[in-house]
Amino acid sequence: MIADFAWIRPEPHGIHVVPADCWIDPSQAVANALVTHGHADHARGGHGRTVATPETLAIMELRYQTREGALPVRYGETIRLPGEVDVTYVPAGHVLGSAQIVLEHAGERVVVTGDYKRRPDPTCPPFEVVPCDVFITEATFGLPVFCHPPIETEIAKLLKARADHLDRCVLVGAYALGKAQRLIAELRRAGHHDVIWLHGAMERMCRLYEEWGVGLGELRLVTDATKDELRGAIVVCPPSALNDRWSRRLPDPITAMASGWMRVRQRARQRNVELPLVISDHADWGELTRTIEEVNPSESWITHGREEALLRWCQLHQRRARALALVGYEDEDD
């Protein structure tokens, strides 16, 4: 006899935890929200109460200018919601504060991964495998063509491009929350200790990371630089600023972008990228499938991306699975 997990229900605008009447990463404002991490397609504003890690709540406060209804839960801490639902936040390894949400009710356990990755990341604690009955997994890079190379090789490419063109600068497009700080931290780890220059839109999030103990070295704003100061420099901006008028102030920039999508040439060409860096904060195909094997759930629910291929993989491996049709998730520039 297979349980039907009627107490947890995927609806178009989020996952509904019925006995507690709360929603996971809802795409519209609700009374009670459980939020996995701070990216905009997961952490919307305007909820009555928001349960999330302290880091995620800080990120949301930065974005929405309010802490109203914030209820912090630390990694590993369990809280009990009405309707006898126990909730535990477990690291997801995606960005600062990102968590998997573990729900327990009536002897059944459901894990919602939010976004996650399995690679080491100096800006957040690593993903933890939690065995469960239902595993609700993301599938952003859910195609077997996606295999993220080790970040060290991509960082080496970036540093080489810089060293080969000291009269120019390397302009790296990176998602402002998570990707940018991980990129900077990895550059520092690789021994690059020069000033890293930022687009204005990056500044507050980088400062927040530093307040939470993630050292990023010396960062300065491009608006404070002379063109000559930027020669031989690495500049980080949001992907949307890459081909914008903003970049004209830079000395003949080499356009780079740090994203898992850069694995595919056409994607890189669409963005006018000269130096594609395959750096992602999501699990690649190998990690997605390995994680399902390790978690070994009796059912996998697949969402957030290319559900079809992962669903096919589950079928081929005699694993029960279904694709959820949730709205509001986007391909982050990730």
């Binding site: 063509v145 595919v264 290319r306």
Partner: protein, 531 residues
């Protein structure tokens, strides 16, 4: 192969022409023979291996990955070779050495329909994803990295500091991997022997006349015909027709393939006979008629009968074993005139010299040329040798004054390379009736030059401030800015909604001052159609 793969990827991501030139030149300089020759061939004309086709490659992949997962991946990636390069399972043993380009070419050449299923996997197993991509692209002859033969030749010339005209001439004499070409350019060996082969010789080109006044004692005037400049070559019993870029276009004009039976290299204008007589000179239909014949792989009998091709000769470069290129123009002209009776008159005629006593008379002659299948005048120094490329002071082209219309800017698109942050490609239109009576604008052309850098910045600002819609890299403007557009001619075209297509449109002036409703109507443009 890994170095070649790195080059291929760098070319994929490099937009600027100079960047591409430098990448290729660096590769050619730093790579040994015969790898660099094979690489050059793969980048330009493409290599072909009959047994290695997309079908077998797909089948090999299906043996290794679920067909549904393959199909989903192929849909996302958009390219079979790239999908296979990414999906190919990483080989078990790491100790395998990647093949060199020439080793890969050698293996690919010897594969048969049967052995390919066994041997191609071995080869793929020795490579990383980037190497697999380059290998599969090379094997299927579809590099698509935006490298024209001309660009590759320029890069070659740049790499070894030789003249691009020489490269062009010898290149065609040789087959990949071009060992003699590299021996000549890189090691100073004798140039390759080109006699007895129907080879392309680089064209002599002209500068625009601008405001120069020439003395007709030193210069002779000739018509410049509105067709396709071609070179007709006969050698070793074979006749070839080459376009200005050195492309072999014989296949599109089979009637020319047996028109010449003496060893010669002739320079002329390819035209087709048609209903439109070109004044006294006669017989040539306009460029639009010629377009009916262009780019067709197979030519129907009706086509051959309705639009028969012929070449109107300007010059002779080689004749019966003698290289005439160092002779002055008037001597070559004498040889050409003497040759005419020996050529079939339905396939060749002679472009006449235009008689004028004074340079001033030419302006009138030129102005009256608009009704003919004539693009303008050529002025050639009477003592000029035939030299490849453009040399100051030898040949001038004096085109008819361009035609002008006032159009309204409709859409703007981002440029590429240095201009990628600017909206620099403009689509403009004319009114299909009275603009005050509810007429609409219909696009009539597209241009991306004719303005200064300063004007480009102003236009870019204008586009951003007047955007009403965005479609990807394209912005639709509020249609308030008028361009004076210059163009060489205008023709009927079914491809455009306006039914008209311009040749060589460019922005002649930005009419910041002119209100959009005063721009021209479609009828005004249609009145300029001459065919």
């Amino acid at each position: 192969m890994e170095k070649f793969a790195a080059l291929v990827d760098a070319l994929v991501y490099t937009r600027s022409r100079n960047g591409k030139l430098q990448l290729i030149a660096d590769y050619l300089r730093s790579t040994p023979d015969p790898d660099r020759g094979w690489a050059l061939a793969a980048l330009t004309e493409g290599l072909s291996f009959p047994a290695v086709k997309p079908g077998p490659i797909r089948n090999l992949m299906m043996e290794r990955v679920d067909p549904v997962l393959f199909a989903l991946s192929r849909d996302f990636v958009g390219d079979t070779a790239e999908t296979v390069s990414l999906l190919w399972p990483a080989p078990d043993t790491d100790g395998k050495t990647p093949p060199t380009v020439s080793e890969a070419v050698d293996l690919l050449r010897h594969m048969t329909r049967n052995s390919v299923m066994r041997e191609l996997p071995d080869l793929l197993d020795r490579l990383h994803p980037e190497g697999r991509y380059a290998l599969l692209k090379l094997a299927t002859g579809a590099m698509r990295v935006g490298i024209s033969a001309r660009l590759a030749k320029t890069a070659f010339a740049q790499a070894f500091e030789v003249s691009v005209e020489d490269v062009e001439e010898y290149w065609h004499a040789l087959a990949p991997p071009y060992a003699d070409l590299f021996a000549w350019a890189a090691e100073g060996a004798d140039p390759p022997d080109t006699s007895d082969r129907p080879l392309f010789r680089p064209f002599m080109l002209a500068h625009p006349l601008e405001d120069t006044v020439l003395d007709l004692d030193d210069y002779v005037a000739e018509w410049k015909w509105d067709g396709i400049r071609v070179q007709v070559v006969h050698a070793g019993g074979e006749t070839r027709l080459y376009s200005r870029t050195g492309d072999d276009v014989t296949g599109s004009f089979p009637e020319m393939s047996d028109a010449l039976d003496l060893p010669a290299v002739l320079d002329g204008e390819l035209l087709v006979r048609g209903a439109h007589q070109g004044g006294e000179a006669g017989g040539a239909a306009s460029f639009n008629a010629l377009q009916q014949r262009l780019g067709r792989k197979t030519v129907s009998k009706t086509m051959l009968a309705e639009f028969p091709a012929f070449v109107r000769l300007y010059d002779v470069l080689l004749l019966e074993g003698e290289d005439l290129r160092d002779l002055p123009w008037h001597e070559r002209r004498g040889r050409l005139e003497a040759l005419m009776p020996r050529l079939p008159s339905n396939r060749f005629d002679l472009s006449p010299v235009v008689d004028a006593d004074h340079f001033g008379d030419l302006a009138e002659i030129r102005a009256s040329a608009r009704d003919d299948a004539i693009e303008g005048l050529m002025l050639k120094r009477r003592d000029s040798p035939y030299v490849a490329g453009r040399r100051t002071g030898l040949w001038y082209k004096w085109k008819r004054d361009p035609l002008l219309v006032d159009c309204v800017l409709m859409y703007a698109q981002r440029g590429s390379g240095k201009r990628s942050s600017f909206y620099s490609d403009y689509t403009f239109g004319c009114w299909d009736g009275d603009p005050d009576g509810g007429a609409e604008l219909l696009p009539v052309g597209k241009a991306y030059f004719g303005f200064t850098d300063e004007e480009l910045r102003e236009l870019d600002r204008y586009v951003r401030n007047h955007t009403v819609n965005r479609f990807g890299p394209v912005r639709e403007t509020d249609k308030s800015l008028v361009f004076e557009v210059a163009f060489d001619s205008v023709h009927e075209s079914k491809r455009h909604k306006s039914g008209l297509a311009m040749r060589f449109p460019r922005i002649s002036r930005i009419r910041w001052d002119k209100p959009a409703h005063e721009a021209d109507r479609i009828e005004a443009l249609r009145a300029l159609v001459r065919d």
